[in-house]
């Protein structure tokens, strides 16, 4: 459980980091919280020649509200999300989600940017980002671009983030007041990935669903957006039947791999169950 040798770099500015990334190209890996990469390196599954530690770049930290959007530095840790008064008031879904990630020590180190750019379908932030309509700021030496979460996750460990790019910020439009929300996650124990999880945001008008977004964690090649399920709910009253139907539609897009958490059938069923629970809780939290 000892990593292979590598060179270590700790830039203090984004341009420096980009410069190093350019210089070492394929040989380089970005180090955020390190709780995915370092264990991988200790098992010698990963052996980058150069580690670029983003930990000393101040601009990558912090949570603020600007122009109707929450702007979260990519190196903001899970515990910082959990403890943010701003997020507790304006975006409690993110807080609820972060609380379900791994364990306390890991949440001190683990970062939202790392969680998202790792592209691991078992990570929890991608689903939260999709239902929150987030977008990501990606910086390269050639300039910066802002890409929506929708379409960012193209496969396992594969995102739109290009070699030579660094995710610097996450932007989340402040959810309309009264938006219902829930992240419902089934896991075997603290520190485990989701067997299946569902993220939901919901706006109700009276008993009618005005807007709804549903995303699923760890039941596909990457995070899944349950479009058909959303469509089946939008504009209609929400009741046990419509919730069950939405869950059925969500399950249809699942393609999980069997592992010690369960077989594909179980995980798919749990995606449906988590969808139902998330929808019910979101409804109870939404103002009519």
């Amino acid at each position: 459980m000892i990593p292979r040798e590598f060179e270590y770099h700790a830039p203090t500015t984004i341009p420096d980091a980009l410069g190093l990334l350019k210089q070492f190209g394929d040989e380089a890996k970005l180090l955020a919280g390190g709780h995915s990469l370092l264990p991988m390196m200790k098992l010698r599954f990963a052996q980058p020649g150069h580690l670029i530690d983003l930990g000393r770049i101040r601009e990558l930290k912090g949570i603020r509200e600007e122009g109707g959007a929450l702007r979260i530095g990519a190196m903001t840790t899970e515990n910082e999300l959990i403890w943010s008064k701003l997020l507790q008031d304006k975006c409690p879904l993110l807080v609820e989600g972060a609380r379900l990630i791994s364990d306390p020590q890991v949440r001190y180190k683990g970062t939202i940017g790392g969680d998202i750019s790792h592209g691991d379908p078992g990570n929890d932030h991608p689903a939260l980002m999709l239902v929150l309509g987030a977008s990501f700021v990606l910086k390269a030496s050639t300039g910066e671009r802002v890409v929506p979460a929708e379409g960012f996750f193209v496969g396992s460990f594969a995102t739109l983030l290009q070699p030579g790019e660094i995710m610097t910020e996450i932007r989340i439009p402040v959810p309309a007041p009264g938006t219902g929300y829930c992240y419902s996650k089934l896991k075997r124990k603290v520190g485990d990935f989701a067997t299946a999880a569902a993220a939901v945001t919901l706006r109700m008008k009276g008993e009618t669903v005005q807007e709804v977004a549903i995303a699923l964690t760890n039941v596909g090649a990457s995070v899944l957006r349950a479009r058909a399920a959303e469509d089946s709910l939008r504009g209609k009253a929400m009741n046990d039947a419509s919730i069950a139907e939405a869950a059925r539609l969500a399950m249809r897009i699942c393609d999980p791999a069997a592992d010690q958490r369960g077989d594909a059938e179980y995980k798919t069923a749990m995606a449906g169950e988590m969808t139902q629970r998330a929808l019910r809780t979101a409804r109870s939290r939404a103002t009519r």
Binding site: R4, Y8, H35, K42, L51, P104, Q105, V190, G191
Partner: protein
């Protein structure tokens, strides 16, 4: 052989320097170069928390931190808890409430609980269980560990007022 780095940081308030390969893990520097064998190695995949130390005000698993990341850092380990012969309330609590048996998880437990009580001086049993869940214990079943943390919380709050 990768270029070695000289790393300086504060360990339990004292300035220390180590020369390490970039790949050297903090737990190994502490245990083997700095003779601080309080933090232990239990799993190496950052699940068990036996290697927990306090790093710049965060509880971290030092088996998943590179020593080179600790330049200028403040590191607190179990060895730093006893002040001029006086035990920390947590050390006292773990003894009084029988919060340890084999003692292997204890340094990590106490170090983690220290940060928890800084952030939440009077946690409920549920909060203690939730915020201590990054530390595994095979002996106690946690019940007396919860009591030990409550003991310390009580003692610290009374000494504050």
């Amino acid at each position: 052989m990768a270029r070695k780095h000289a790393v300086s940081f504060k360990l339990n308030g004292k300035a220390v320097d180590v020369v390490v390969e970039p790949r050297e893990l903090l737990i190994h520097s502490l245990r083997e170069k700095l003779q601080h064998t309080g933090p232990h190695i239990g799993c190496e995949t950052s699940h068990c928390g036996a290697c927990t130390v306090d790093l710049n005000g965060m509880s971290v698993k030092s088996c998943t931190v590179l020593t080179v990341q600790c330049q200028d850092a403040e590191v607190l380990t179990i060895e730093g808890f006893e002040q001029s012969g006086a035990l920390h309330a947590l050390q006292e609590g773990f003894t009084q409430e029988h919060g340890l048996q084999c003692g292997y998880c204890t340094p990590g437990m106490i170090t983690r609980a220290y940060r928890l009580l800084k952030e939440n001086p009077s946690p409920s049993e549920e909060e203690i269980r939730y915020w201590m869940a990054g530390n595994l214990c095979r002996c106690t079943g946690y019940q007396n560990i919860v009591k030990a943390v409550q003991y310390a919380a009580k003692k610290m709050s009374s000494s504050r007022t």
